[in-house]
Symmetry: C2
Subunit: 271 residues, 2 copies
């Protein structure tokens, strides 16, 4: 059973750098803390063929989950569901449960705003899903999330508006991932290292990682050499929190010892 | 001549959501403002095979430029250049110009810090480039950027430390892109729209875009429906600034008119 995840972010605004892709970070963080392993994050624009291509490529790699954000709303450039249908070779059709969700939302908006809101084609569009897909209720917006199954992967489409994406993820997606991944815990720790430059640190990390192959150690220079301020990040996954923690702490102790031996200093330890 | 660009971001820290990918946004913004069109942004982890695969995929799509960030430093997990060599089927070899750049840096650091800095294998590693590659001087750090040519694309590898990435881009990459793209100007404008919800706006945008096919109009809801605050973003590319501006302004005028007609309001106009 693979724990591999892919994230696909849709939107021309990301490709022109108009928007910082904080959705990708939020999803990556949340998937990781649930025990999943994000393998790839891809951003493409609002074109059906392009989105379908990226989806097909992801399905070829057989990740357990493919999560998308963006392109679920009522406008002409919200093309994600058409692309999913194309990639899965399924028709798009009116989904009765999704239609009830969308209708309920507009009824609620009518009550809040005291205006009549017609069920225009643009609005009904949000209830058109790939055949056999399941709508995921949107607690804070209109467009439901969508879940489809391919032979190898579960595809989940989330809106691009961060509050909507997060709400659907927390309500419908996190429980699913938790059940799928089962008991798998991540533990991480950071050390701030000074008085030793990255190129001197490199062979020490190498040595420690050979001795602790399950712990991943990575150095992040906080400034260009020769300013010696480097964040060392240690992380591992294990079946229990205890095991993961013990592994990381043992490795941290050893690398700290080596760093002190080589004239470096540990500035502060953040769990 | 294609103006297509791809950006590839390397680093496990991005896949676990430890770091917000502001490098991708900065590169996308700068490539766009130079007249390039970013087609895809991909993030993968620090594995040679994985990076080489993503590079090969990008080369298949024949973008003019493939820009990478991350994985250029002295540590064992800085694997970008090995991956480029693998993707291009070239050996990695000591590059004399790169070695001079690296040596100069350490000589300078020695003078600044009054410490002896040995030229260890980890340090010399930064001067090992794919055969036929050209090092790009790093004005603020140690690892040079690297330029390689494939049959269809120019591959440029930049460091992941933002200050180093930006400095190399501005000094060596921007002039290259400017020469390649030639005269191509982008113009954009945003309108803040209230009192009309996105699903009511959708058919209006549709109408205006059919009349102005060269201008791209996209709605960004700032909050979930029914709160009616939507940013409308209009953009185009043209051979002159004047033409681009005129197109966008004419389209903005027309969509504003339609919005007012349908009971919406334009809150403020930002150029």
């Amino acid at each position: 059973m693979s724990h591999a995840f892919e994230i696909i972010c849709l939107g021309n605004e990301l490709l022109i750098g108009k928007i910082l892709n904080s959705n990708a970070q939020w999803l990556a963080q949340n998937v990781t803390s649930l025990g999943g392993a994000v393998q790839r994050i891809t951003t493409v624009g609002d074109e059906i063929e392009e989105i379908a291509t990226v989806l097909r490529e992801a399905l070829t790699r057989k990740s357990a989950f493919v999560l998308t954000t963006g392109g679920l709303g009522p406008t002409f450039d919200d093309k994600t569901l058409d692309a999913v249908a194309l990639a899965l070779k399924k028709p798009v059709e009116l989904n009765e449960s999704a239609l009830i969700m969308v209708k309920d939302k507009y009824r609620h908006y009518e009550q809040t705003t005291h205006k009549t809101i017609e069920l225009t084609p643009a609005r009904v569009k949000m209830a058109h899903l790939p055949k056999d897909a399941v709508p995921l209720s949107n607690p804070v917006g209109t467009a439901p999330g969508v879940l489809s199954e391919s032979a190898s992967s579960t595809i989940i489409n989330l809106p691009g508006v961060p509050s909507e994406m997060k709400a659907i993820f927390e309500e419908s997606v996190a429980p699913l991932i938790r059940r799928f991944v089962g008991s798998r815990h991540m533990y991480e720790k950071s050390l701030e290292v000074t008085e030793i430059i990255e190129s001197a640190l490199a062979p020490l990390i190498d040595r420690v990682m050979r001795q602790h192959p399950t712990v991943y150690v990575k150095s992040h220079p906080q400034a260009a050499e020769p300013v010696p301020l480097i964040e060392l990040h240690l992380s591992t996954h294990a079946a229990s929190h205890e095991t993961a923690k013990n592994r990381v702490e043992a490795t941290a102790k050893e690398i700290s010892h080596l760093i002190l031996e080589h004239g470096g200093e540990i500035k502060h330890l953040a769990a």
